[in-house]
């Protein structure tokens, strides 16, 4: 087998893994969009905020230390404890639920019935707010996140592929863990929305707000729940990306990576988010591998968008999106 083909296979596998991570972010978008018709641009910043909070709780940072120091001239930094990861994750999840509740209470309750573009703008405002808030609360320096996930090259795959192709594939353990976790997450989300009372209520709300309201479903509760779920997904995505590349501002930009995934998969479909993520992940890695060197590289920034754009021209609702029916 030629070397190029073997390299391409490695790139393909890595693309699949990257795609899973994109899908993880896209999942949060889909959840909220399905249930409330809000296109939540803040999803990426939520992931950043969750990761910042997680690190902050684990390391026992004093929240708003920078602000308090500036206002009162004190020298606060740390409480001086180190919490185990599980406790910190639970604490962060609680913070995300609280955040969802506040977002619902202070923002979107007042915007019910507005046009989608206004709601979208509100989420961009929310993204700005959360970004500033997260930085003020926990500081803006790059932080290391380690919750005990395995990292580094997977020796077993390296060995096996070396025996077959004479060339060991580099697959990061973290990516494998992310894939497994994403699979579990999607599976449990599907189970939740199919078989539990709240899940069914959620789907009813997604179908038709007013009909759901008229059969006695508490819209506010469902929305808070959906935002909390999205916050939880953001937390998982934040842990994965944060472990991979450190907790820093650029983490919030993964939202921009998830958008083409959404377009490709359709805004309303959970399987679509997964398949879209895989296509984008593989597509951009292979394109960078094959065409990138000819045009100066760094094509990953835009390739996903152009791919999604071309795709949409032929299928405007995305791969799995609900068929768009227009009536006058």
């Amino acid at each position: 087998m030629s070397d190029q083909l073997v390299y391409a296979m490695e790139v393909f596998l890595n693309g699949l893994m990257a795609g899973v991570l994109y899908a993880l972010v896209a999942l949060g978008f889909v959840l909220i969009y399905k249930a409330s018709g809000i296109f939540n641009y803040a999803q990426g910043v939520m992931a950043l905020f969750a990761a910042l909070t997680l690190v902050g709780i684990m390391d026992g940072q004093v929240p708003f230390a920078h602000l308090i120091n500036a206002m009162f001239g004190t020298e606060l930094h740390h409480f001086g404890w180190h919490l185990p990861a599980v406790v910190a994750i639970l604490g962060t999840a609680a913070v995300m639920v609280l955040l969802s509740w506040m977002v619902q209470k202070f923002v979107f309750r007042h915007l019910v019935g507005q046009e989608p573009i206004i709601l979208f703008m509100a989420t961009i405002g929310l993204a700005y707010f959360l970004e500033g808030f997260g930085d003020i609360m926990w500081g803006s320096d790059i932080k290391k996140l380690d919750v005990g996930l395995p990292q580094g090259i997977n020796a077993w795959i390296d060995n096996v592929t070396f025996n077959i192709f004479d060339y060991g594939f580099f697959i990061d353990n973290l990516d494998i863990v992310a894939t497994v976790i994403a699979a579990i997450l999607v599976f449990s989300l599907v189970l939740f929305s199919q078989y539990t009372k709240q899940g069914r209520a959620m789907r009813a709300v997604a179908d038709d707000h007013q009909a759901a309201l008229s059969v006695g479903i508490n819209l506010n509760f469902i929305w808070v729940m959906v935002w909390s779920l999205a916050g939880f997904v953001a937390l998982v995505a934040g842990i994965m990306w944060g472990t991979k590349s450190g907790v820093q501002f650029s983490l919030s930009l993964i939202a921009l990576k998830a958008l083409p995934v959404l377009m490709l998969g359709g805004f309303t479909s959970i399987p679509g988010a997964i398949v879209g993520g895989l296509i984008i992940g593989v597509g951009e890695k292979l394109f960078e591998f094959a065409i990138g060197p000819m045009v100066g590289g760094a094509t990953e920034n835009w390739f996903a968008y152009v791919l999604a754009l071309i795709f949409l021209v032929f299928r405007p609702q995305g791969l799995f999106g609900e068929k768009i029916i227009e009536r006058v």
Partner: protein, 369 residues
Amino acid sequence: MFYREAGDFKTTYKDDNQTFPIKFDRYRYYFVLFVAFALIPFMLNDYWVNAIFMPFLIYSIAAIGLNILVGYCGQVSLGTGGFMAVGAYACYKFMTGIDIWLGGVQYALPPINIFFSVILAGLVTAIVGALFGLPSLRIKGFYLAVATLAAQFFLVWLFNKWEWAYNFSASGQINAPERGIFGVNVTGPNVDAWAKYLFCLVILTICAVVARNLTRGSVGRKWMAIRDMDIAAEIIGVNPLKAKLSAFAVSSFFIGISGALFFSVYLGAVEVGEAFGINKSFLVLFMVIIGGLGSIFGSFAGAAFLVLLPVLLKNVLVGGLGWPTDLAAHLEFLIVGALIIAFLIAEPHGLAQLWRVAKEKLRLWPFPH
């Protein structure tokens, strides 16, 4: 008392069709023009021009452009930064002279006057914009908004990699050479504050008048029909291809001009990823939303608001309270975000709507019953 149409009789169609049919509006418009052209240039200093007037004038042009697309034609675009970059780089090429090698023969174009460079840059951007507007015929709503991000990322990447676009300079930056109009410098290092200001003001005024009249005319009505419901518009005889593409082209024309001015007159040196990144797209979109969708006045109001707010916050927090600058920057994000949300909740139709309400009150004042 002053602001009413009663007693203001029009005797010709020309009078009836003018841009500002109400006298008070008309006088206010002349007054604003008078202040902007005849008073402000004499009171300027460098700080005011660079911190406030330049960004305000230039972003106003961009906001007018985006407002035509989003507010009048209903096509949400997040590619503003990319189109501004096209304007900036096109302007740079026209300013410094274009040379093209075709089949071993060099075709060289001499450097063009800065004013025409800016206009030509707008035209180039209009073509690029129409090209990226093509998918809008198939893709609608959020899908389109995300699709325009393709333009944003692709164009920024292109100007990073395409060496011809920045004349093969080692740093990858483009620097505005010294250029002037009527013997007065408007770009380069030695420029008087008033010259910069007047140059941008003239272009802004032309743009605003053109935009206002386009949106009042048949083209603007077609855009609005498409915005309100494109299928219905198609049935009553509006050609969606022409309407959408013309909206993209006109909008990109203005945005390209603002990008050209942003680079050549305001900053002087530009690195594409930094100056025309995704944040610029959002900033201009915020201006349009806060100012008011579908209103030329709103574009000005939104630009003024978002240019002044950070200056004000910085002066209060860093200058007034003595906080560290990084903290102030974060706080600025927080406050801008919160203000946007508050605005959308309080008045989703923006500052222009507040102005409309105020005018309605003024019509009845002082006898509201």
